[in-house]
């Protein structure tokens, strides 16, 4: 378990079936998944603990993450299996300029597989726990 960005969060898990490009995939003002090709298109990431195995797509994803944190319509936290710099950057910058830390945590596959959409989880310095 490694934190890409440290922080605390709790919320309902939304586990994505496929990686999502935040740019072109999420509206940062509402949190809606706008990528119609994505299996979970139409759902909202707002306030969710978002799970995706790894990142995908455009470099602008960092900006969309930061904008979502600023607007309050982004995820509460993100759980991944592989580090993704584009996603991490958005959260690092939001932390630097707004002092708002959205945790991003990378976990082993066995732990990743243990959570499903709808689970209520906490992310703290100790890692992810069911709440």
């Amino acid at each position: 378990m490694t934190f890409l960005v440290a922080g605390k969060a709790n919320g309902e898990v939304l586990k994505l079936d496929e990686p999502l490009s935040f740019w072109g995939g999420v509206d940062p003002q509402t949190g809606e998944i706008t990528d119609l090709r994505h299996p979970q298109g139409g759902l909202s990431v707002k306030g969710k603990v978002l799970m995706m195995p790894f990142g995908r797509g455009s470099s602008s994803g960092s900006s969309v993450i930061a904008e979502g944190i600023r607007s309050g319509s982004g995820p509460a936290g993100i759980i991944m299996m592989e580090a993704d710099e584009i996603i991490a950057l958005g959260a690092i910058v939001a932390d630097e300029i707004y002092g708002k830390a959205m945790p991003i945590i990378v976990v082993e596959k066995s732990e990743y597989d243990g959570y499903s959409t709808g689970d209520l989880v906490d992310i703290s310095e100790d890692g992810v726990t069911l709440s």
Binding site: L4, V5, P19, S21, W23, G24, G25, P28, Q29, T34, D35, L36, R37, G41, F54, G55, R56, G57, S58, S59, S60, G61, S62, S63, V64, A66, E67, I69, R70, S71, E82, A83, D84, E85, I86, I87, A88, L89, G90, I92, V93, A94, E96, I97, Y98
Partner: protein, 422 residues
């Protein structure tokens, strides 16, 4: 893991190079930690994607740096933004949004970046050489720099690009390092007829397919003709970086770190082998269209920005014909390329034929296109991938030849034979 900092890095962090360098270095070091980099390295150029307006956060960030006195230290180019400064009337979006976007663009220029406003900085005269370490953002530019130029950049997102430009430093990790540049998945192209292998339209389709299967790996593509053109490799890479997270690919016989398949894999075995059959190519092609229709409302070409060669081909395809009344025909390109293509006599006749050139931005990231209810046709897999979500349009993918024929007639004209003929 701690990052070993050089004296210079530490002096930046300590504020000896000014407050902006301190802030920029802090972001670089935090990113380096997430990448598990053991140190930073020098980079010789940067390409900035952060100049596209997505809302207040990106402007807050740029101002945060500028207010601390930020100036770039290395040659730095700018990616597309939200406005076309050469043809400002094309912008049809919210005035306030446009005004904020302009503030952002001005801010990056004041920090010393060159106002190139293109997603294809590799088409500019000065571009990185083989082996050069750079910090580029914009997914298609990253994949081109790594794969086609043999320069080295990691898959950088927004924000880090300008931080690297301010400090001239980037994490020594990822695609900057030899050990992370070898291929892992082999794509064996086979059974495709020779004439299809020599068509532009194959390459974005192949890229779409490769990206879907490669995820964030490094695909090695075998079975293409030697010396595939830069424009085709551009289309392939852009597509693979949209459907997947590909930051680098090897096309055996075309890209500089893959003279042979063995070289591309550094002598190791691929972790997976995928046979690219004609059936899979057709399936990938069909995934790029959201509808089949008999009419089109618009055409959008130039994602990534069209090169001079591509504009020349467009000029030849039009052959004196004009765009059908009621169809809007857009071509996105860089301002430098537009100047060159104008000098060579391709632009004016195309404009007279009804083609609208869009510079400094792209039709799928900002409100430029007139509202259409009919589908939009494109030769770009990247445009086809993102436009339905961004613009709410239906899209039909086709070869540039199909796009021109359809644009002239207003009816969908697709030459299906090219996919099947022997």
């Amino acid at each position: 893991m701690t990052v070993n900092l050089s004296e210079f890095d530490q002096s930046c962090l300590d504020g000896e190079e000014g407050p902006a360098a301190a802030s920029a270095m802090r972001v670089i070091v935090r990113l380096a930690e997430t990448m598990e980099a053991s140190e930073l390295l020098d980079v010789t150029s940067a390409h900035i994607d952060s100049c596209l307006y997505h809302g207040p956060a990106v402007l807050d960030f740029a101002k945060w740096l500028e207010d601390q006195g930020a100036k770039v230290k290395i040659p730095t180019t700018l990616n597309v933004s939200s406005l076309d400064l050469i043809h400002p009337d094309l912008y049809r979006g919210d005035k306030n949004w446009g005004a904020q976007a302009k503030l952002l663009m001005d801010c990056y220029e004041r920090m010393g970046c060159k106002p190139t406003w293109t997603c294809a900085p590799y088409q500019l005269e000065e571009r990185p050489k083989f082996g050069e370490q750079v910090a580029w953002a914009e997914s298609n530019a990253i994949v081109f720099a790594n794969s086609v130029l043999g320069a080295r950049t990691h898959r950088y997102g927004d924000f880090i690009d300008i931080c690297a430009a301010i400090c001239g430093r980037a994490p020594a990790a990822g695609l900057h390092l030899d050990e992370n540049r070898k291929g892992d998945i082999l794509f064996r192209v086979g059974g495709l007829n020779e004439s299809l292998l020599d068509r532009d339209v194959l390459y974005p389709v192949l890229g779409h397919l490769v990206g879907k299967h490669a995820g964030n790996g490094i695909p090695v593509i075998q079975g293409l003709p030697d010396g595939v053109s830069e424009d085709r490799l551009k289309a392939l890479g852009a597509a693979a970086a949209s459907s997947g997270s590909v930051g680098m690919f090897h096309a055996v016989g075309s890209t500089p770190e893959a003279f042979t398949t063995e070289e591309a894999f550094s002598g190791l075995a691929p972790i997976d082998v995928i046979d690219v059959t004609p059936e899979k190519i057709i399936l990938a092609r069909d995934q790029l269209s959201t509808v089949t229709d008999s009419k089109i409302g618009a055409v959008s070409l130039g994602t990534p920005h069209y090169s001079v060669q591509e504009i020349k081909k467009l000029f030849e395809l039009f052959g004196g014909e004009s765009v059908c009344l009621g169809v809007n025909f857009y071509v996105s390109t860089g301002r430098d390329v537009l100047t060159e293509a104008s000098l060579r006599g391709f632009v004016k006749p195309l404009e007279e034929a009804g083609v609208t050139f869009v510079t400094d931005t792209c039709t799928y990231i900002t409100p430029i296109m007139e509202a259409v209810t009919l589908p939009v046709m494109t030769d770009s897999a990247k445009w086809a991938y993102y436009a339905p979500g961004n613009l709410g349009v239906e899209v039909i993918f086709g070869a540039v030849e199909d796009c021109v024929a359809s644009g002239i007639s207003g009816d969908l004209c697709i030459d299906n034979n090219i996919w099947y003929e022997g």
